[in-house]
Amino acid sequence: MINYLKSEHYRLLRKKSLYITSGIGFLLIVAAAAVLHYFPRIDPTFPYATSTFFYSNVVAGWVLIMLFALIFNLALTGKDLSVIKQSVSFGISRNTIYWTKLILTLSYFLLICLVGLLLAISLGENLLNTVEHSVRNFLIACFNMLPIVLSGFFMIHSLRMLNAGESIIIFLMFFIFYLSGNILRALFRFIPGLDELYKYTPNMLLNDNLVKFLNHESAFDYRFWITGFVISALSLLIGVKKFAKKPID
């Protein structure tokens, strides 16, 4: 596994897409901060040049983060999946391939997210009007988002390893992370015991997270971890099982 990890690392560092995707992500953060920083000079009554508003864009931008996870995963696995056949025929197990690729892409994804987070905080605290406890609240809100974002990443990885097309991945992600709340609410509204289930769906939780952040009421919420764990476990379990038997052409 170590040799496979090393070889994948060698490949990853030579992928232009790693630098392009990360660069675009960082650029968007800087651009958002710059706009908020310069806008009050044009309009002195502009009320959004605060760190809270800037951070709220990150908390509200979970769809964008998921999209970034998809693009990142596609860029790092993408068409290179065809090369797997050479590794399988050399006796490297499908399990090793599945987990190594996940560990490596996830590590880089988390590293880039962390750098992005630090960049956002340093820009927010230095360029914009700071609000008391905004960083603490922002970090709590991000911590709540973490399991949901991770579950999205695991789902994307599993689907990519099973060679699912981009449109299928986007549809499934949209359904599970965006539509599921409203669908469950409509389906179970008259069934006692299940009528509260929708509150555990990703979009409901993430919207709730944003509202609490804007009200300066951010607090650790275990429900994010329950939902994240369920989606992650299912994605990984199905992914590993199916990939173990998948024909590799």
Partner: protein, 305 residues
């Protein structure tokens, strides 16, 4: 002589279609074995089962006497090249091999240059894989197979896309690897003449089943001759032949040509039989069959099988 590859009752079913039908096959150390069959016969599927790209529906595979989980380790002693070699398109030949060198735990970095030299790609330092010609891709595929100094090569159509000079070079390379490095080779190709010049054993596969397994000597013996005759009434001739020799194998071809694959030793008798029964024989000769003719006769179906 040790056995490198062995399969027992190997089967592969895709949905409803049985693509590999209970194949029993063994490859002995030192052999150059040619797997011959037309498109869709099951050659690539068989190779993919050996490499682990496909999971067998039933049956067993042993590589170097190991099966199950132990087989993964044994695979490291085999270089597989199945269908078109796949590499990272934006990497050069060196970068691609470096990726696999790290992955395969080959300590000696110079090995990359050595294998690139063997296949004639050492001078292509800056060209990216996506800009390679088909022949160059095949050469790089062979270089990858050689990277970890294997004891056996399994090559699916390795001379696809090569020019005649390239084909000759690869043939010489494979012969050299077999003779000097004692590398066992299992190879498939559509260019049958090339296999005839290279292989020591010929296995014919048709509809997922091995239909013939011959040594070079047996093949030479079996395919050495056929009778070719031109007659005025092919249908009448066929009737006479079938009546006189119930096990006769023959084909009726266009232009009133008949070819007979057995009973060559009684050619004179056959001629007399036809003439005495009122069939005009305008041409009668025995000719040597090449492997391709043999292959087409056996694998694509014989009129009188």
């Amino acid at each position: 002589m040790g056995t490198i590859i062995e399969t027992y009752q190997l089967r592969k079913v895709f949905k409803q279609a049985e693509v590999i039908k209970s194949v029993n096959f063994s490859l002995k150390k030192g052999e150059i074995c040619a797997l011959i069959g037309k498109n869709g016969a099951g050659k690539s599927t068989f190779f993919k089962l050996l490499s682990g790209q496909l999971i067998p529906t039933s049956g067993d595979i042993q590589l170097f006497g190991k099966s199950g989980k132990e087989m993964e380790q044994a695979k490291k002693r085999i270089g597989f090249m199945i269908e078109e070699p796949a590499f990272f398109p934006n990497f050069t030949a060196y970068q691609n091999l470096e990726y696999f060198r790290i992955q395969r735990g080959v300590v000696d970095k110079k090995r990359i240059h050595k294998v690139l030299e063997i296949v004639g790609l050492a001078h292509e330092r800056k060209k990216k894989f996506k800009d390679f010609s088909m022949g160059m891709k095949q050469r790089l595929g062979i270089a990858l197979c050689l990277l970890s100094s294997p004891d056996c090569l399994v090559l699916d159509e390795p001379i696809n896309g090569l020019d005649p000079e390239g084909i000759r070079e690869i043939r010489q390379l494979l012969k050299r690897l077999n003779q000097e490095n004692q590398i066992t080779i299992l190879i498939s190709s559509h260019i049958l003449a090339e296999l005839q010049l290279l292989a020591t054993r010929f296995v014919f596969i048709k509809n997922g089943k091995i239909v013939e397994d011959l040594s070079r000597t047996a093949l030479d013996e079996k395919s050495k001759k056929q009778i070719r005759l031109v007659v005025n009434h092919p249908a009448k001739a066929a009737q006479l032949l079938e009546r006189a020799y119930p096990d006769i194998q023959f084909q009726i071809l266009p232009d009133q040509v008949i070819t007979i694959q057995n009973h060559i030793e009684v050619a004179g008798e056959i001629n007399r039989l036809l003439v005495e029964n009122g069939v005009d024989v305008n041409e009668f000769r025995t000719e040597v069959l090449n492997l391709e003719e043999y292959f087409l006769g056996q694998v694509e179906g014989n009129n009188n099988d």
